[in-house]
């Protein structure tokens, strides 16, 4: 078991190193001088040179790569070119918006998608199934930024129940902060719920063909109990895999939704730092997202063991 964990950890570190090299190289090739972006169309060459020195851009590339890597390991992500504050502080401020948002979306998506999928499977080829499939089709087809705008029109502009966007900060209180995350979370959750419903449905339909399901029914276990204990539980493996993938999709999808709702989250930070050529923030954020994706995959592997005891023994 220890050997397995060590091997996984080594693979984890190597993947991240590979990601770091690729990210650094890509941004190095990208044309554009962050100092010129900051100082605009009238700047004197002396001012540009002074700013480049202040940003550390006058150093050779190799040296900058290793000092960045060293910083990543020691938790010092450097100073943002545009904001001139530590990147760790920026990420910290944004994390408290994006993580609750993505978590709310994933909870909502699971709470809607999995039961709907199960319902469809249980009513296979009947009206309930058809209704769920229509919902799933619509959920997949509607772009979430458009759905977000629709929600704003109905609930913020029309009814005035919820804010149209922005985030007052958690210091404004739990409820005001939560209120401003509600519409974006729903907008993010809809397509994910649709995917989950479809995956749950097809996984359950497949499991329903298994011999042990027939055996359970033959033993006299009720249909309801068979569905919940045998079919749903065994169908959860693909569902959990998709859920893990969705968490990464949600972090990325947040880029668009956070812009539509003017939320100061990580997605908006990615967007802004690319637009303003704040390359150091881009580098750190892409690294962070890579690390999150690798880590989530790792966590999903561990979850498999919890769901399916056979996988636990095999490893």
């Amino acid at each position: 078991m220890m050997g397995y964990l060590l091997r996984r950890l080594l693979a984890f570190a190597l993947t991240l190193l590979g990601a770091a090299i690729v990210i650094f190289l890509v941004l190095e090739i990208l044309p554009g001088d962050p100092a010129a972006v900051t100082l605009g169309l009238n700047a004197a060459p002396e001012a540009l040179a002074a700013l480049r020195a202040e940003m550390g851009l006058d150093q050779p590339a190799l040296l900058r790569f290793f000092s960045w890597l060293g910083g990543l390991v020691s938790g010092d992500l450097g100073l943002s070119y545009t904001y001139r504050v530590p990147v760790t502080q920026l990420i910290g401020e944004r994390m408290v918006v994006t993580l609750p948002l993505a978590s709310m979306a994933i909870l909502l998506a699971s709470a809607i998608g999995i039961p709907l999928g199960a319902l469809a499977a249980a009513n296979h080829n009947r009206a309930g199934d058809a209704a769920v499939m229509v919902f799933a089709q619509a959920g997949l087809a509607i772009p979430n930024f458009w759905f977000g705008l629709l929600l704003v029109l109905v609930f913020a502009v029309g009814a005035g129940w919820l804010p149209a966007g922005g985030f007052p900060g958690w210091q404004a209180g739990f409820w005001p902060a939560l209120r401003s995350l509600l519409l974006p979370a729903v907008a993010l959750a809809l397509p994910q719920a649709a995917i989950l419903a479809r995956v749950t449905r097809s996984a359950m339909l497949e499991t329903m063909q298994e011999d042990y399901v027939r055996t359970a029914r033959a033993k006299g276990v009720s249909r309801r109990r068979t569905m919940l204990r045998h079919v749903l539980r065994n169908a959860l493996i693909p569902v959990v895999t998709v859920l893990g993938l969705q968490f990464s999709v949600l972090l990325a999808g947040a880029i668009i939704i956070e812009n539509v709702f003017a939320l100061p989250g990580l997605g908006r930070l990615v967007f802004q730092s690319i637009a303003q050529h704040d390359l150091i923030v881009v580098k750190d954020l892409v690294m962070l997202f890579s690390a999150l994706v690798v880590f989530i995959n790792f966590a999903i592997d561990l979850l498999y063991g919890l769901i399916d005891p056979r996988l636990r023994q095999a490893s």
Binding site: P31, L39, A164, L269
Partner: protein, 496 residues
């Protein structure tokens, strides 16, 4: 026994209770929430060129010796008066004796000397050094007198002092102004939730008239649809320059809102690489000017008429001359000019476009207009940093569309290495003369000559002035609706 649920319910009630006084305060109407498209990267206008910094801090947190008012006129600010000696070189500024920084330190002439010397120091990243380079030396004989001696007469010296790059800062706090600005203005910096909002609070020790607003919140909303939604939902009271011109009819129909279309200093041009054939031939450039139907372009971008220009000058400046009639739309004449230049069937070229909507939407229309005389412009969209690198710095382009938002920047045409590479000794001599002409009437006459020269040479395709689309609550007064400088001064803003 207290259960966990009781505790949670209690916490919820407590949260509700703290909400009530806030809601009551909002009714008192001494606060305003202002929407802006871009967030300032820092709060120190002496550290970068970003317009958003100036929009938030200038004349609110920070002040210069002089200020520009909403009509573009220079008015006293931290200097209550100034005089120019007969040598046309020596300026004497008298400071306001009761002005104080927000940390309660009184303003002194030494702070002025410090601020201006800091701007030209070797490690300074001030984006507008030209304001300070004419200075020979600065003296501070007593706490409220500053004597600035110039190297040569410089007509626009005092004008430059109204810019955000020339604010007066305190030596004690200057280093922290990027994140914790300490100025002398009518508002103090209160709080910044980066990415979402920034709060200012009234400065009760202000030397001038006290503002009516106790609090101002700037909110940063980049998505055009989200800007409209925030206005209509009442989340914000003002949007300083809306990015969604297509929403204007809808907003105008809302009785709670007021929409004003104003002017700026943003000359929007089809910039032409004057050093590159075939554009180095003035007849080719004139042919291009003859097909640029400004109204069609503006209607395509905005859906309404804007202020058109015929040279590189804003109608907000008193020296403006209307030259929009220099090259009337005339396809036959354009074709004849092209033929005379040796291109009877036109030619191929590229049109590199930065991201703003005026460039991307305008580019499509201009390419179509140029195609009428056989000029096939291939559109290449670029991100802004790439545009700066390739077009602006490396001058690797044929045509591009960009708005020059800095006020009174006609002098850039005298810079040989400036990206469109005009290189006209006659024009350089004229700008040099303007710089040394201290008499305003005489100077404005020369500015007229400069505008005519640029129009005659059809240096660039001069299109229009970027509009400023101000949307406010109908009962809010005092917002700037024109932008002689891109600012949002709040001292005179009040609810009716």
């Amino acid at each position: 026994m207290t259960t966990r649920r009781d505790l949670l319910a209690g916490a919820g009630l407590a949260a509700l209770a703290t909400q009530l006084p806030l809601a009551a305060l909002a009714q008192a109407r001494d606060s305003v929430t202002i929407g802006m498209t871009l967030e300032p990267p820092t709060l120190d206008p002496t550290s970068g060129a970003a317009q958003a910094i100036r929009e938030v801090v200038l004349q609110n947190i920070f002040e210069g010796l002089v200020a520009m008012d909403r009509t573009g006129k220079l008015v006293p600010a931290l200097a209550e008066s100034w005089t120019l000696a007969a040598d046309n070189l020596t300026y004497t500024f008298k400071l306001r004796p009761n002005a104080r920084f927000h940390d309660s330190t009184p303003l002194s002439s030494r702070d002025v000397k410090f601020s201006f010397e800091r701007a030209v120091a070797p490690d300074s990243t001030n984006a507008q050094r030209w304001i300070f380079t004419p200075i020979e030396n600065i003296e501070a004989p007593d706490p409220i007198t500053v004597i600035i001696k110039l190297k040569q007469p410089t007509a626009n010296f005092v004008y430059g002092l109204s810019w955000g790059d020339a604010i007066i800062v305190s030596p004690a706090t200057a280093a922290n102004n990027k994140t914790n600005p300490v100025g002398t203005g009518p508002f103090k910096f209160a709080r910044w939730n980066r990415g979402d909002r920034l709060e200012l609070a009234r400065n009760d020790e202000y030397w001038g008239p006290k503002p009516s607003l106790a609090k101002a919140v700037f909110r940063f909303i980049s998505d055009p649809q989200a800007q409209v939604a925030a206005l209509r939902a009442g989340d914000i009271d003002v949007f300083t320059n809306l990015s969604a011109p297509e929403a204007i009819p809808q907003l105008k129909a809302d009785p709670k809102l007021k929409v004003t279309l104003g002017k700026t200093e943003g000359e929007t041009i089809l910039a032409i690489n004057n050093a590159k054939a075939p554009f180095s031939d003035v007849r080719v450039r004139q042919a291009i000017s003859h097909v640029l139907d400004r109204k069609t372009i503006a209607l395509g971008i905005y859906g309404f008429d804007v202020d058109y220009i015929g040279s590189h000058f804003s109608p907000l400046h008193p020296a403006y001359v209307d030259l929009t009639g220099t090259y009337p739309v005339d396809l036959a004449k354009a074709k004849a000019l092209l033929a005379a230049a040796g291109f009877p069937n036109g030619f191929e070229c590229t049109l590199r476009l930065p991201p703003p909507a005026y460039a991307r939407r305008g580019g499509e229309i201009i390419a179509a207009l140029l195609a009428q005389i056989g000029i096939n412009a291939k559109i290449e969209p670029l991100e802004f940093p790439q545009w700066l690198e390739r077009v602006f710095k490396a001058r690797d382009f044929d045509l591009t569309i960009i708005a020059h938002t800095e006020p009174l920047d006609i002098g850039n045409y005298a810079r040989d290495d400036y990206y469109f590479q005009y290189r006209n000794p006659e024009f350089k001599a004229l700008i040099d003369k303007i710089d040394r002409t201290v008499d305003e009437a005489e100077r404005n006459k020369l500015y007229g000559d400069a505008q005519r020269m640029l129009a005659r040479d059809a240096v660039n395709g001069f299109l229009f002035i970027l509009p400023k689309i101000t949307v406010t609550r109908a009962d809010l007064e005092g917002m700037w609706t024109d932008w002689p400088l891109p600012l949002t001064p709040l001292a005179e803003v009040k609810w009716r």
